[in-house]
């Protein structure tokens, strides 16, 4: 191990490699998606081509590294669901990050190094996810500096402890309130509002809506089994307690399998006028569709992945969703606002991915990119881009999401670091029109109704740990 580090130092001193490498790859890679799946082979090739001495932008020699960072590249790993149930969603999120790095690399990369993504597919299977993690976290040439996306609560839960042991930073693509807890995931850098707080904000919003119409809110909570469902349910139950709302039906972790007849019957009979869901889009569509068909009228909303504009606004239930559904979220939608972040994002996609359809979730990948860049630059500034150094740097930064979502930092206690803002979106079936990015028109049908906002109950609440 020591020998390797010495060797790296020696090479860095002697060859001064970074600048030339980056300028060469700029020309080759800027416009092509090829760079997204850069390989070992290309990496080697690059090293050989950059062997010729060239002028350095900055001396790389001062930065300590261990795995995943060489003199001209930084590898970040993605443990993504590209063939499983969330593949369509995750593929676009990964695309968001890919495009982000193309832009960053074209502008010279981070600390003179090009960022390489190593994308592995978990298929949302825990076993495969763990295998992927072991590959990404390997203490060898194949290891990455940090994991910039790890799909799903289950897989994140499965690797949380290992990530701590390996001292590697992981950004989860999961918003369970667990990850912000230093006891559970000190190395898990949660992004955005967690399900629990999202539920609290969302139910406050719905309750206000009903109260304005002169009704007394009666809440039904539907959740699926697992961390996601439990966290969303915990938040909803907490909100009901704090707001003093009657819970007329609570299907805690009871939504699973294909037949939800009983849930629908009980929901319809419960007399609820607010429904909060912590479900998958398929489950939402089923329960929502059946309930509406049986004449059930209420204000619906749910944690972020309960709703999928493609399936719900593009399907048979579009009008009903338009009528009854409010979508909750913590990143701005595609035509949500004119923030700097959204303008950057749209500009980059228009140039680099003109044929892709517009999507709300590119922003999530883009924000992951912003986070990683901020953390890595801090680490570089600290002169320590070892895995441990990156973890340490993450505690020192505040990430500016440029209006795509609330800014965030991870230092301090749980209560200090959780993000309390979220958004409520109005679903508009008539506006829904998916077009290629380059057309400049089209819409995902989601518009910001309120936000970013913090409900009173969330603002006042002291979070002394995860909700579950």
């Amino acid at each position: 191990m020591k020998f390797k580090r010495l060797l790296a130092l020696f090479m860095a001193l002697g060859l001064v490699a970074s600048a030339c490498g980056s300028s060469e790859t700029d020309d080759g890679a800027a416009g092509e998606s090829e760079s997204s799946a850069t390989t070992e082979a290309t990496a080697e090739e690059e090293t050989t081509t950059t062997a010729a001495p060239a002028e350095a932008e900055e001396p790389a020699a001062e930065i300590a590294t261990d795995f995943g960072v060489t003199d001209d590249t930084i590898k970040v790993g993605l443990n993504a669901d590209l063939s499983g149930p969330f593949a369509s969603l995750v593929a676009e999120i990964v695309e968001g990050q890919t495009v982000y790095w193309e832009v960053v690399n074209a502008n010279g990369g981070i600390a003179g190094r090009q960022v390489e993504m190593v994308v592995l597919d978990s298929g949302y299977a825990t076993d495969k996810g763990i295998e992927n993690y072991l590959t990404l976290a390997a203490e060898s040439d194949e290891g990455v500096a940090m994991i910039s996306e790890n799909t799903g609560s289950p897989i994140t839960a499965a690797i949380a402890e290992d990530a701590k042991d390996d001292d590697i930073l992981v950004i989860p693509l999961s918003w369970a309130s667990l990850w912000a807890d230093p006891d559970i995931g000190p190395n898990i850098l949660e992004k955005g509002t967690n399900y629990c707080i999202e539920s609290m904000n969302g139910i406050s919003f719905l309750a206000d809506l009903v109260t304005e119409n002169g009704d007394t809110p009666k809440l039904a909570i539907l959740s699926r089994p697992g961390e996601y469902g439990a966290d969303g349910f915990a938040g909803a139950a907490l909100a009901a307690e704090l707001l003093d709302i009657e819970v007329v039906y609570a299907a805690e972790g009871e939504v699973a399998g294909d037949d939800r007849t009983a849930v629908v019957t009980q929901l319809v009979n419960s007399g609820a006028n607010i429904v909060w869901t912590t479900l998958t889009p398929g489950e939402t569509a089923d329960i929502f569709g059946n309930a509406v068909a049986q004449g059930f009228e209420a204000q619906w909303s749910g944690n972020q992945p309960s709703f999928n504009y493609l399936a719900h606004l593009g399907g048979d239930l579009a009008e009903s969703f338009d009528q009854y559904w409010w979508q909750s979220g913590y990143t701005v939608p595609w035509n949500g606002n004119d923030s700097e972040g959204m303008q950057d994002l749209v500009a980059a996609f228009t140039e680099l991915r003109p044929d892709n359809n517009l999507s709300d979730v590119y922003a999530i990948g883009w924000m992951e990119g912003l986070m990683v860049q901020t953390v890595l630059e801090q680490a570089a500034a600290n002169g320590d881009m070892t895995r441990a150094g990156i973890v340490a740097a993450s505690q020192e930064v505040t990430v500016d999401f440029k209006g795509l979502g609330p800014n965030q930092s991870w230092a301090g206690s749980y209560n200090d670091s959780v993000v309390r803002e979220s958004y409520m979106f109005d679903a508009d079936a008539t506006a829904f029109d998916i077009q290629p990015v380059s057309s400049g028109t089209g819409s995902t049908g989601l518009f910001i109704e309120k936000g970013p906002f913090v409900s009173e109950i969330v603002a006042d609440y002291v979070f002394d740990g995860p909700c579950i």
């Binding site: 090829e34 076993d127 499965a158």
Partner: protein, 435 residues
Amino acid sequence: MSFGRPHLRTSYEQDSAIFPTYFQKGAAGLFLIFIVLMVLGNGAAGWIPTWLFGQTWLNPLTLVLPFAIAALGFNILTGVTGQVSLGHAFFMGVGAYSAVTLGGKGDGGVKACVPFADNIGLLDKAGECGLGLPIWIWLPLAGVFAALVGILVSPAAVKVRGLYLAIVTVGLVFIGLHIARMLPEYAGDYESGRKWPKLDIRIWKEEVPFIDMNEDGKWLGLIYLTEEQKQFFFLFAILLVMMAFAKNLVRTRTGRALQAIRDRDVAAEVMGVPEQHYKRVGFAISSFYAGIGGALWASYQGRVSPVDFSLLLSVEFVAILLIGGAGTIAGTMMGTLFVELLPKAVEKLTNWLSGNLDSGGVIGDLANIMLTSGPGDFGPVSTSPTAPGWPMSVFLWNPVIYGVLIVIFLIFEPHGLFGIWVKIRNYWKGWPFSY
């Protein structure tokens, strides 16, 4: 004895040995030495896995070992006894959850081990049941419990034949998945599962294990090994023992009875082989292997979720059996290696090809045909892992390749890799007089 005439066997004992000739004994020994050298990272023996699977090849290779054990069990049931089961994943699950219940860490004490503890008011909140016992208890018992469950379901399983059994066992997998959902106190969260005991060997529940498998260091004060190497050798040793058991079983009375049932069930009965009894034995032994395999797999992974024990896992074993060659132990091993490492190899190969896209020459051309790097290109495999629609990413192609291989092997080489191996061997035996 008779060095000059390797085919002359002087006793029945020699004739029915696992490796009857000195040549075979020597070859097996050399193969073992090769594996040890390879895992120890010896350059000469290690370049093939490095080239195929990259630097971290030891992890995927170690992962093959528990699957190989479970596959041996599947072979006993389906290859040897001829009972087509799609329920192997279920029995792996039974083994794995027995292991975690006995060896895992619980948070609700013994009370949590009562089913529905929180529903009947024993506990306020659902807890996880784990007794924290050492591996020498949980590993064998994982197998035993799986075998017992096998016997428990056998009344339904031994009565039905052929495809009916296949369907019944499909049902078993779905029911098993649901039971895991009903009993989170054993199974943990339905999607993220729970933590399994590590492979460390403890005498009892002491803090510092007797043999530590999860830290680099000297093993029993003898040889310096990394954590990965330790785990590999440990699992490999278990696999060898299980292979020997399987081989012995097949060459003795019970094994013959099982094969007889496979080949002609009615004739077997008339020869005095009670069909239902031996089907039950086959079921139990197969489940035992599945249980051990499942327990070791989960333990090596550290964490698996109930959903991992799905029908797809069962189908994997069918593929292993068919691709390797049914009924033989060597075939089972070949099949497991092939099926478990194939996706990884395909991924690496695609990466390697995409690295050579612009290199010209044969490889470059091949890469251009196979891959699509941007719009306007017509290769079936997309280099971008994220592009939806056609062309598909390599991750989506992997199951396609795997399914197509099952079809191709069945149509063109029903005896699987083992059959191919036998053909090659016979060719060389007859060489230069190949006919």
